[in-house]
């Protein structure tokens, strides 16, 4: 298929699929494979990739609908997607509750009794459940979907603003990000003392700036401006961050190896999306945009296919990955976590994700097929995250 601004950009699917696999791997504590994900050699991790691509595709999909069918139609579509994410979040929350209440009621280790307060919320389920429904209760691993939901809820405003003028959106978003960096503002959560792990006031900038890039694409700007300056700058920034983080990772395993600039830079704040994460991440975006063409052969290859499929079913595969990582962790703690067991757990989890993605793609294809009497080629798959 010739690359036109309207044909599906498989890079988005592929890299989002890869990010989902990385999120699964990184969510298994002390997983040997996590030495080979973005986390090991970038100041950032798969979360940035996920939010960036989500913002970018949201602008592509809903931006087109806004142009074609108007504000109300596009807004309704965005809100439907937010609702799907919300339902998925509640589904994950139910699984979490099941796991914690089971663990706590069968718990018999006196060495932990006094400190095992994770289940305090079970004493006040009427509050906890409502807080979860309000996205204010974000137990471990249930923290990125609330951010994504919130981003989509405000997205219609972003969309309309971008349509008027990109700066109308970029300036407030960047200003808010900078204010958060300077004053360290956090968003409180439940129970008392908790905060939103992904501070939406900071992370919105990644989502919105990605949406602006997506918006530029549908406006017909498919080439990166200032590529001649941007490319070497991005290469230098990415390479520097890569070497520094790699030295930290090696230092973590082998003490004698020096961690470069460790004293000056560590720890790098994730809650508020420190510029030390954001800038090298955007450097990577520039490198990929310039070095991996849309029509790159490997994107069509059999090897890339499972990742592309995962990226195309991102919500389901994300939730599945979370459940599988908790399950894998449980099995590894319960039955020993040697290297081979770890590799087996990773392989099993990734296989289940691939197969599920293939199955979901099949369902979608069947759903789209015209009635049997009018046999025709299936229509063009819709773009991005929207069904």
């Amino acid at each position: 298929m010739p690359a036109s601004p309207t044909s599906r950009d498989l890079r988005l699917d592929f890299f989002r699929g890869l990010a989902l696999i990385f999120i699964f791997i990184d969510h298994i504590p002390e997983n040997i494979l996590s030495y080979f994900t973005l986390e090991a050699f970038g100041f950032f991790d798969a979360a940035e990739v996920f939010i960036f691509i989500s913002g970018f595709t949201a602008a592509l999909v809903y931006g087109r609908r806004l142009v074609e069918k108007g504000v109300i139609y596009a807004t309704a579509q965005v809100l439907r997607r937010a609702w799907q994410l919300y339902v998925a979040h509640v589904f994950l929350f139910v699984i979490f509750i099941a796991e914690v209440s089971y663990t706590v009621t069968t718990f018999n280790n006196p060495m932990y009794n006094e400190e095992m307060r994770v289940a305090d919320f079970l004493d006040e389920p009427h509050v906890a459940v409502i807080q979860a429904l309000l996205l204010q209760f974000q137990p471990t691993f249930l923290d990125i979907l609330p951010l994504y939901i919130l981003m989509l809820v405000i997205f219609p405003v972003v969309l309309i603003g971008m349509q008027r003028h990109p700066l109308l959106v970029l300036l407030p978003s960047a200003a808010l990000y900078i204010v958060v960096q300077i004053f360290g503002i956090v968003v409180p959560a439940y129970p008392e003392g908790h905060v939103w792990y992904f501070n939406p006031l900071a992370w919105q900038f990644l989502f919105v700036s990605a949406a602006l890039l997506g918006h530029a694409r549908i406006r017909g700007q498919t080439r990166l401006p200032f590529a001649r300056v941007l490319y070497p700058a991005a290469a230098v920034i990415f390479a520097a961050a890569f070497l520094i983080k790699l030295s930290w990772t090696i230092h973590g395993v082998w003490d004698a190896f020096p961690g470069l600039l460790l004293k000056q830079l560590w720890p790098i704040n994730k809650n508020n999306l420190s510029p030390l994460r954001l800038v090298p991440f955007y450097a990577l975006v520039v490198l990929v945009a310039l070095r991996v063409p849309r029509e790159a052969q490997f994107l069509q290859s059999t090897a890339a296919r499972p990742f592309v499929l995962c990226g195309q079913q991102s919500l389901e595969i994300f939730c599945l990955g979370i459940i599988l990582s908790v399950l894998a962790h449980f099995i590894l703690t319960e039955y020993g976590g040697g290297v081979w067991m770890q590799l087996a757990a990773n392989a099993a989890g990734i296989t289940v994700m691939f197969l599920t993605a293939a199955m979901l793609a099949w369902y979608k294809m069947v759903d789209r097929m015209p009635p049997l009497r009018t046999v025709a080629a299936p229509g063009r798959p819709s773009d991005g995250i929207a069904k």
């Binding site: 280790n109 060495m111 307060r117 137990p139 471990t140 449980f330 703690t333």
Partner: protein, 245 residues
């Protein structure tokens, strides 16, 4: 059966049944890589060399208090005192227990001025991180609190050893310790402070089935907890010995 085999069987029985000390010593074993200590404790080392009395304060949470074992004498700080006294018989050594359950790292730092410094210790053992992980305190906040505590102790020419979290098979899947473990070991690495890898060691023991609370009757649990605390005390004493050599 030959006489030799009978004899060795008898010795084996005697070893297993007869001598609880040998029994316990064997049970506390960990792989050598978990007992590597590169940091030094210069102030403590000087005291020990001079044969002057040594005062140690153990500050921490519920696993420092040791209520699970049933008596303060069975908590890890007292077991540490017993083990250290065996290793350095000619120096009077006291370990003061300043455990208060369910405090965050920040709250413990607030107790340094009243609970730790007035005891005039030469070494502070700081067991922390569990409450922070359970409560989900912001990792950056946790990190800066740790740093503040370490600085406060070090600036007074007192040595410090950190003790990281407890491991428990059933809690491992519902509490996310990894971020906090990384922070503790990261801060310690920057400051050249030794962290006793309690989490790793207890996980090893758990994998070796040395302690498994799932298959133990309710009235046996305190005894099991006491055994784990005793092993922690012994291993910590060994690590401290390595750090003063």
């Amino acid at each position: 059966m030959t006489r030799g085999a009978l004899l060795s069987a008898a010795v084996l029985v005697a070893l297993v049944v007869g001598s609880p000390a040998v029994h316990a010593e064997h049970e506390c074993e960990v792989p050598p890589e978990m007992m590597q200590v590169s940091a030094k404790l210069p102030h403590l080392a000087a005291r020990l060399r001079a044969h002057e009395p040594v005062n140690i304060v153990a500050i921490g949470g519920a696993s420092t208090t040791g209520t699970a074992a049933g008596s303060p004498d069975l908590a890890y700080p007292h077991r540490l005192q017993v083990a250290l006294t065996k290793l350095f018989p000619d120096v009077p050594i006291t370990v003061v227990n300043k455990g208060v359950p369910r405090q965050s790292t920040r709250q413990m730092v607030g107790r340094f001025a009243t609970d730790v410094i007035p005891e005039d210790p030469i070494l502070v053992i700081w067991e922390t991180g569990i409450s922070d992980a359970v409560r989900g305190i912001e990792v950056d906040d946790f990190t800066s609190a740790l740093q503040a505590g370490i600085d406060e102790v070090k600036n007074r020419s007192i040595d410090i050893v950190l003790v990281d979290m407890q491991f428990s098979r059933s809690t491992a899947t519902v509490i996310d310790f990894e971020r906090y473990l990384t922070a503790v070991h990261g801060v310690a690495d920057l400051d050249g402070v030794y962290v006793f890898p309690r989490y790793e060691i207890m996980r090893y023991w758990s994998e070796q089935n040395m302690f498994n609370f799932d298959e133990v009757a309710a009235d046996e649990r305190a005894r099991l907890a006491a055994r784990v605390y005793d092993c922690i005390g012994r291993k910590l004493a060994q690590a401290i010995k390595l750090a003063v050599q």
